[in-house]
Subunit: 268 residues, 2 copies
């Protein structure tokens, strides 16, 4: 199976892109709803739980790991690759950097994400390593995740919040804006409206899905293993808030979530 | 010491009310920032962690327990009282019901809180048990907690969100509005502006502090034990986001937080 994890339900936007490319493959998804959000937590915390979840997914027979969460991608991807040298691990930042760099003409890129992702500077480092001449303008948008989780994906409140967050980046005349958080693709129409038609909005999950496809075409023995899964499995460490609405927005169908916290041994 | 717990930093508004009444006493505060918010989590989860935190506070020599979090008050207070029969346990709902009921003239009360608090119906049950003729209008305001935590305690975005949440309750012509979440007192000026001067806004922490005072006056031996603490201690299970700003808003001074998750045995 393809193991995908996120701090909560946001990674379903990544799952959507992967299922577009791999309609035959089986997904095992873990959303850490008991401890979400990751975006405002410390780096140590994010590394610790990213490692626990990766270990759990591997035990559950995931053959490749997709770090859907950008905050985990930022803080934990190097750690995870080092700790699991024989496992193919894909993260949003490494996967999408090439596409992001190739998309800018004026070499001015905007990045929006959680406070953790922005504070880490991981996107900036990855882009600058590819083309140091690019100017990067980043902004933490901490209210976007709760807005999406509460179901406010459009409407005047969301527009007001988005205008506030995007005004500095818009003033910098960027021609590419990276949605560096799994929740943000659900706000794409609002963000597009504010940024205007000339700005290309990039969802890193598309590049990640493309990279995984290329990898599996080169490694058919792994793809064969992945196909052995019998059905998608969606695990959450606590009851997700608003799951039905978000699942419909992301996957356009219902899922049967399994609610279980594998990292909490003591129960009442 | 007086043990106070909350899902995060919001309980500092309760701490403020308690310190007003007990400037001499020592506080041990635990904010469960690793697992916040509680307001959108399941009842089992909230009970489990409320019990773990209570046990931890008692080991740390708390002599009385204050459940600052309304979601914990709603789901876990009966469980905690049953599990710790010899410990005086104060919660927001039990403490403030009498004041809330006494404050309404037209017998129409509004309650705003997290989805968990509202869903539990705990405030409604407690008020109806005192006066069944009172009409209660409640509304979950899930964006208020993230707004406060991100530091948006006033301004156009917060006003827009608050107007949206309060419009139904306002239309019901209530004369009392209960701020049934520890974060909401920080939004009081915005809420007051929307509800108008005729509506009495109640912060349950004031009633809780009053009840604790009465209790300790009747139980001087417990008060004597509490005074043995040497200094306030503020524990958080993960680095709190925006702590400095919120501490300043709540306590008007800096605190030295201790970051430690006692419920997570495994560290990298």
């Amino acid at each position: 199976m393809i193991g995908i994890f996120d701090s909560g339900v946001g990674g379903l936007t990544v799952t959507k892109e992967i299922l577009k490319k791999f309609p035959q493959d089986q997904i095992i998804y873990f959303g850490d709803t008991a401890r979400l959000p990751y975006g405002t937590k410390g780096a140590d915390f994010v590394i610790e739980y990213s490692e626990k979840i990766t270990g759990w997914l591997l035990k559950k027979d995931a053959k490749i790991i997709v770090i859907a969460c950008n905050t985990s991608s930022a803080w934990a991807s190097a750690y995870l690759r080092n700790a699991h040298k024989n496992t193919p691990i894909f993260d949003m930042i490494t996967s999408a950097t090439k596409d992001v760099v190739a998309s800018t003409k004026n070499k001015r890129i905007g990045i929006i994400g959680t406070p953790g992702t922005i504070e880490s500077g991981a996107w900036e480092k990855s882009i600058k390593a590819t083309d140091p001449s690019i100017k990067i303008y980043s902004e933490a948008c901490p209210l976007f995740v709760p807005l999406v989780e509460m179901g406010f994906v459009r409407g005047p409140v969301t527009e007001k919040v988005a205008k506030e967050y995007l005004k500095k980046i818009k003033a910098k005349n960027v021609d590419v804006l990276v949605l560096a958080c799994t929740h943000y693709p659900l706000l794409e129409s609002v963000i597009k409206k504010i940024m205007g038609k000339k700005v290309k909005i990039i969802n890193p999950a598309e590049a990640a899905a493309k990279e995984i496809k290329t990898f599996l075409e080169k490694n058919p023995e792994i793809e064969k293993e992945i196909k052995k899964g019998v059905a998608h499995e969606f695990y959450f460490s606590d009851k997700p808030y608003n799951l039905e609405k978000i699942t419909k927005l992301c996957l356009n169908k219902k899922i049967n979530p399994i609610i279980k916290d594998p990292f909490n041994g003591t129960n009442l």
